[in-house]
């Protein structure tokens, strides 16, 4: 602690150092980790968890442990696909993404409204909501209980070929997918929302001291609805992109549970639950980088996937203990 003070280390600097140390260790083991092709694939891999982490971060700051973001996204994406297959076969991917995002936002707003209206703990409502939204898919069509087999409107095929950059390296072609750009646009939007808008600042106030926020006359309904809508929008975007990447070959049940790494990124990024502390876009970004690094590089280093989860677990524990230790010292 005193050491950190002497060098004026902010929490995010410490996180960045941890990231760099991990990177350095990996590079020493296998220099290929920072090869050009790997950096490109690293960026591509960052998108999905990055988007979800940004959505989650805002909700966590507000004191809501939301486990349904993937649910909003799945519902948004699948509803979009069903509607488009019936009515707008010729729809292009951009409209598809927008539609999914909007439906995702609506789902999230419903959840947020219930949490606001009945003053319920976010975790309870969102677990239920996540199940409802995911399982609603199985009610559609035949109701056979099978995983909804999905055929996407044909324009999806263009999705995987939109690259920002493309190059041939020997036998291999590296492609930087445009979704990276979407991630950065979302990161910017979240930064703008949480730093520059009154509602965005209000989420910190609500998360920090709910009682005082009530006394100050903060508009809870507006803040909740806007923040949930924004988070749902991002989730709808993320999952639609997953659907298109996989050509519809996506199992909603698997996707529903696919938020563990995003949650890990948010927590490693310093967001604390229930105190509204931490919760910065920069921290979350470092969290995303770190988690993605571990996920992608360990595969390369031949480490089995359970060991990856083990490492991520250690990192999370370290991060949480560090935060607790600091508060402990303060007392």
């Amino acid at each position: 602690m005193s050491l950190a003070k002497r060098f004026k280390l902010t929490d995010n600097t410490i996180r960045l150092i941890v990231f760099i140390v991990i990177l350095a260790v990996f590079v020493i083991i296998n220099p290929d980790v920072v090869s050009f092709a790997n950096i490109i694939s690293f960026c591509n891999n960052m998108v999905y968890n990055g988007l979800l982490a940004m959505a989650l971060m805002m909700l966590f700051v507000m004191g809501i442990l939301d486990l349904a973001v993937t649910g909003y996204g799945i519902f948004g994406a699948y509803a979009t696909i069903v509607i488009c297959m019936k009515f707008f076969m010729g729809i292009n991917i951009w409209l598809m993404m927008l539609m999914s995002a909007v439906i995702g936002a609506l789902c999230a707003m419903c959840t947020g409204y219930v949490i606001y209206k009945f003053k319920l703990p976010g975790i309870l409502v969102s677990v239920a909501a996540g199940n409802i939204f995911t399982m609603a898919l199985f009610l559609e069509g035949s109701g056979s209980g099978n995983v909804p087999a999905t055929v996407l409107p044909p324009d999806w095929m263009s999705y995987n070929n939109i690259n920002l950059y493309q190059a041939s390296l020997g036998t291999m072609t590296v492609r930087l997918h445009f979704s990276v750009l979407i991630l950065f646009a979302v990161i910017f939007a979240v930064w703008f929302y949480t730093k520059k808008t009154v509602e965005g600042r209000s989420i910190y106030a609500i998360g920090g001291n709910t009682e005082a926020a009530v006394r100050m006359g903060i508009d809870f309904r507006k803040t909740y609805l806007m923040t949930f809508a924004f988070a749902g929008f991002i989730a709808g975007l993320a999952i639609m992109m997953e659907y298109m990447r996989g050509g519809g070959n996506v199992n909603p049940l698997v996707v529903q549970g696919n938020h563990g790494d995003a949650i890990a990124a948010v927590i490693f990024g310093g967001t604390q639950l229930g105190t509204g502390k931490g919760g910065s876009v920069l921290g979350t970004l470092i969290g995303i980088l770190t988690i993605t690094l571990i996920k992608t590089s360990l595969i390369m280093l031949g480490v089995p996937s359970y060991a990856q989860t083990f490492v991520i677990g250690l990192l999370l524990l370290g991060s949480v203990v560090l935060a607790a230790y600091k508060d402990f010292n303060k007392e």
């Binding site: 730093k195 600042r201 502390k277």
Partner: protein
């Protein structure tokens, strides 16, 4: 227009069947500083909440600057210039100083467009300048010491263009020096023409700050007038409605039989230093001191909740080391905390569970509770302490303050302690129960339990204890037999800097 800034006339308020306020009237001029004093539970806080709009009065009228309001809401009172600084300060710990101070501006209707950091800093700077305080505006409030947070709360009230600031026991968490600083700020406010209602039950504060004093007792106006009309004794009389007991009861002490002895205890953070004392069999030993004198820390330390080192602790001839409350309980130390609701009572749980919680492990076989034995034990303690309840299964929160405190005491008695530490045991307890609790403390002592009573309530110390140790700036500065000292003399000892 009337000469008063605020008039609250003939206020009535009842909670359940209990009449909290009966025809209370409060008047304050612009630029006046009024101390609202009274014992805990006399209705001070209720009155404040009615003025601020948090509660609705059953009957009565509130007039602000000549305008009568039928219904008061927090918004109206805030717009009229009344700002309440609650004990918990209502700050946002995760936001910066500037954002906290300018929060109302950000939330106001005339704020349009994006969140404006520059404007926030400007507002905050202006407010802090008004009280001549310099705090880093970009610092997160959580990183500030409590005294500075208080100043931030005051600055925020000023930023909301306060004409009257109401402070609800603002000094509770401050050290002596910080309190001094706060007084300076408050005097500065007076000079700026801002009215002040200061809610307190600490007499030394009252005399330093107020121009006028208003006393409430049992929800009724008792007396009001300029501060020069009062002295500690008369104010105590008006607050309690009783002459301070002149001749305190003395238990018979066996000076050869030391129950508990503490030698050279030092808090790790220096909150108390070099504390040594012996507690004899049969006596109630009082420890008193002003806020920040270390008495609270000492009380918590002896129960293992506050880090400290002691050369030697002996309880009933056995050397002890107490590092945690678990150890303390095991060694037979019971602790009745000052904040009963937060630290001592499971409010929603039945009385039964409250009482038996410390004896669960001794009344179970292989982890299974002996329900009948436990219920009997609880019943016995409940009967002994004359707890008035609808039965053992009623939730503890349904009881009155005095009975709640008895439940806390019963809880510890059930575990048959050898040393009982009472930390301000009568806060928020009505006068009748207060005397009963004092009587109980002496009875425990007679039964051979060592009783340590820590309190800032001097009449209480004199009424319940045999001896009193006075703490000042973390050290014991005096020891008196309570039958040889008066409230006033004891008070003089306390405030010696």
């Amino acid at each position: 227009m009337s000469e008063f800034f605020l008039e609250a006339k003939g206020i009535y308020k009842a909670f359940g069947g209990i009449q909290a306020l009966k025809d209370v009237t409060l008047r304050i001029k612009k630029n006046e500083s009024l101390c609202l004093v009274g014992e805990n539970g006399c209705g001070k806080s209720t009155l404040i909440k009615i003025i601020s709009g948090a509660y609705k009065a059953d009957k009565g009228q509130i007039i602000i600057e000549g305008t009568a309001y039928k219904e008061m809401t927090p918004q109206i009172s805030s717009q009229a210039g009344i700002q309440v600084i609650y004990q918990d300060l209502s700050l946002f710990p995760n936001l910066t100083v500037a954002e906290n101070i300018a929060m109302t501006y950000n939330m106001s209707k005339d704020h349009k467009g994006l969140f404006n950091e520059k404007k926030n800093v400007e507002i905050a700077r202006k407010a802090l300048d008004q009280i001549n305080v310099d705090i880093d505006l970009s610092e997160i409030v959580d990183n500030l010491p409590i005294a500075q947070r208080q100043l931030v709360a005051i600055a925020r009230a000023l930023a909301q263009e306060a004409k009257l600031i109401i402070m609800d026991e603002p000094t509770t968490a401050l050290t002596y020096k910080e309190v001094d600083n706060l007084y300076k700020v408050i005097n500065g406010l007076k000079a700026r023409g801002i009215g002040l209602i200061f809610v307190s039950h600490k007499l030394d504060e009252v005399f330093r700050i107020a121009e006028n004093i208003m006393v409430i007792r049992n929800g009724e106006n008792v007396i009001e007038g300029p501060v020069s009309d009062f002295n500690v004794k008369s104010l105590t009389y008006h607050m309690t409605g009783k002459e301070p007991e002149a001749n305190p009861f003395q238990n018979v002490i066996d000076k050869n039989d030391v129950i508990f002895s503490c030698k050279e205890a030092n808090a790790k953070d220096g909150a108390f230093r070099n504390i040594s004392f012996d507690l004899y069999k049969g006596e109630v030993l009082g420890i008193t001191g002003l806020l920040g004198s270390g008495r609270e820390s000492l009380a918590e330390a002896l129960f293992g909740c506050y880090p400290y080192r002691a050369k030697e602790l002996v309880l009933c001839g056995k050397k002890l080391k107490i590092k945690s409350p678990e150890q303390a309980v095991k060694e037979g130390i019971g602790y009745i905390p000052d904040d009963r609701a937060l630290k001592g009572l499971y409010g929603k749980a039945p009385i039964l569970w409250n009482i038996i919680s410390p004896i669960l492990h001794t009344n179970s076989i292989a982890g299974f509770m002996l329900r009948r034995t436990l219920r009997q034990a609880a019943q016995t303690e409940s009967d002994n302490l004359r707890i008035k309840s609808a039965g053992l299964d009623a939730p503890a929160s349904s009881l009155s303050g005095g009975n709640q405190q008895r439940v806390v005491i019963a809880k510890w008695l059930a575990s048959k302690p050898r040393l009982l530490i009472l930390n301000c045991p009568t806060v928020g307890v009505d006068v009748g129960s207060k005397q009963e609790i004092h009587k109980m403390a002496r009875e425990f002592a007679e039964q051979g339990i060592g009783v340590l009573l820590i309190s800032d309530d001097l009449p209480e110390i004199l009424a319940a204890c045999n001896r009193v140790l006075v703490m000042n700036h973390g050290e014991i500065t005096g020891c008196y037999n309570t039958n040889e000292i008066t409230v006033n003399k004891l008070y003089e000892q306390l405030i010696q800097a």
